[in-house]
Point group: D2
Chain length 164, copies 4
Amino acid sequence: MKRHPEPRRIAVIGAASCTAHEAALAEAVGRALARQGAVLICGGRGGVMEAACRGAKAEGGFTVGILPGVDAREANPYVDLPLPTGMGEGRNVLVVRAAQAVIAIGGRYGTLSEIALALKLGRPVVGLETWHLEPAHGPPPPIHRVASPEEAVRLAVALAQRLP
Amino acid sequence: MKRHPEPRRIAVIGAASCTAHEAALAEAVGRALARQGAVLICGGRGGVMEAACRGAKAEGGFTVGILPGVDAREANPYVDLPLPTGMGEGRNVLVVRAAQAVIAIGGRYGTLSEIALALKLGRPVVGLETWHLEPAHGPPPPIHRVASPEEAVRLAVALAQRLP
Amino acid sequence: MKRHPEPRRIAVIGAASCTAHEAALAEAVGRALARQGAVLICGGRGGVMEAACRGAKAEGGFTVGILPGVDAREANPYVDLPLPTGMGEGRNVLVVRAAQAVIAIGGRYGTLSEIALALKLGRPVVGLETWHLEPAHGPPPPIHRVASPEEAVRLAVALAQRLP
Amino acid sequence: MKRHPEPRRIAVIGAASCTAHEAALAEAVGRALARQGAVLICGGRGGVMEAACRGAKAEGGFTVGILPGVDAREANPYVDLPLPTGMGEGRNVLVVRAAQAVIAIGGRYGTLSEIALALKLGRPVVGLETWHLEPAHGPPPPIHRVASPEEAVRLAVALAQRLP
């Protein structure tokens, strides 16, 4: 039985409240992901997540919201598949595991936890104006810093294809 | 911003190894769900889950596999969106929370845990040749027992529409 | 390095609201567990859980409450170690995994989910006036039904010792 | 019913493989926690976690290991209460939620995720030679950087007492 070809699954992570500039970046990332035929995975809430989903839907993409709460209605209006988890911030690891690569835009502590989990779990991390991280010893983590949403998506999709 | 209409999300639960009869029931449930435009949520593995997904894909439906392990390749070949959770049996509660109603077909202990969680979390449970449950006191749980896959789907979709 | 001997970890599961008779059973189970030197694992809330913890503390035992919410103060007053999980009913699987055997007293849907998960994960289940379960095919699950709290504890501790 | 006084619950987080210097810091932290009567919460594995537990046991403390796997035997030999979760890295959020304050020693990506989750969930973070973090905008996170294990414990216990 041949498995039908699967679209790439790319997570977009960022804060539930963000600047207009970050929202514009996220929307452009969402648009570019949809044009690539990738499924957009996110935490399903507002801010960067909502802007990314809005962009994806504008280009006919498909969006998944892995929600912290128990009610699907907490998803932003551009989420096609809301998945309430009831796990609070415990859902962050599920966002990362569901994805084959992660695009981080700005972000605060929740986003930082997702970047860290992605690094731990071997998901490539592409960063747009996001956290700078330095361990006490050794090299900084391999975050692929890019300058534009289009470059973020191109790189994330390329890196994702190397993962199962 | 008007929310675009969402398809119903119905979970099909049952064992990863099942009889040919249960597989036939599950495949027919999958077909009927797809014809109703419902999204099929399941645990993503073999047996009842695979048969239901195969049925749904035969009718052009959409299938989600919420997997126990960390590798998307453990999904059966008819899963459109594999979501590895890395939570083992802890993912059962996620299958239930993701759904607006649950159809149980046969099943062993994992399925029993999902039936119980669905009852606890207020998801309607429709049963096809599944567990019989009696508490020490009080009435048996409100499992809607049906005689055919088509009736199972009709009832699950109708009951799901009463939930957010 | 020799590992210091560990006490048995036994879960007591049952509803957060229960009859006076169930509470009396649970309290006697808690007392007997403490006299055996076992650690009592539970969901940390009221009803059967609280009565079991109260019994354990009356005999100088140690009690762990794996809580559904995010606030340690939701533990009953007899919990020594409250562990808020923020996972809601998703914490049920953690109660079961933490234990080497499970004693079910009465119980409703949450308890039923824990019995099912224990059966799935290979934890021996000892039952006191609890659910009766029958699969569609095959033998009923191996729930060890006992007639007294003392017998429940004796059996649970004996069966637990066969597990890592 | 008066609640019996509860000991503080302090998490020690750090990598499963660490330098001798980090192990020495962790062991001293464990010793100081035990002398304060605090319960040591950790991920239950080797490296920093094992050294901290060894220190705590040397002073008669109590140690809890919230394990990623399904087998209690994966705990280091100084864990009093092993809690297998079967959630992999998903257990990191449980380590943080279980604690009233967090002491980070060195650490790699798993530790970084726990620091981030602690910041998100309002657990005070005390750092010993650990990550340096800078968001794209705004002030760095409120990690309390200290110079000695004793200072780390003193501060963590003091900050923990402000939490439920």
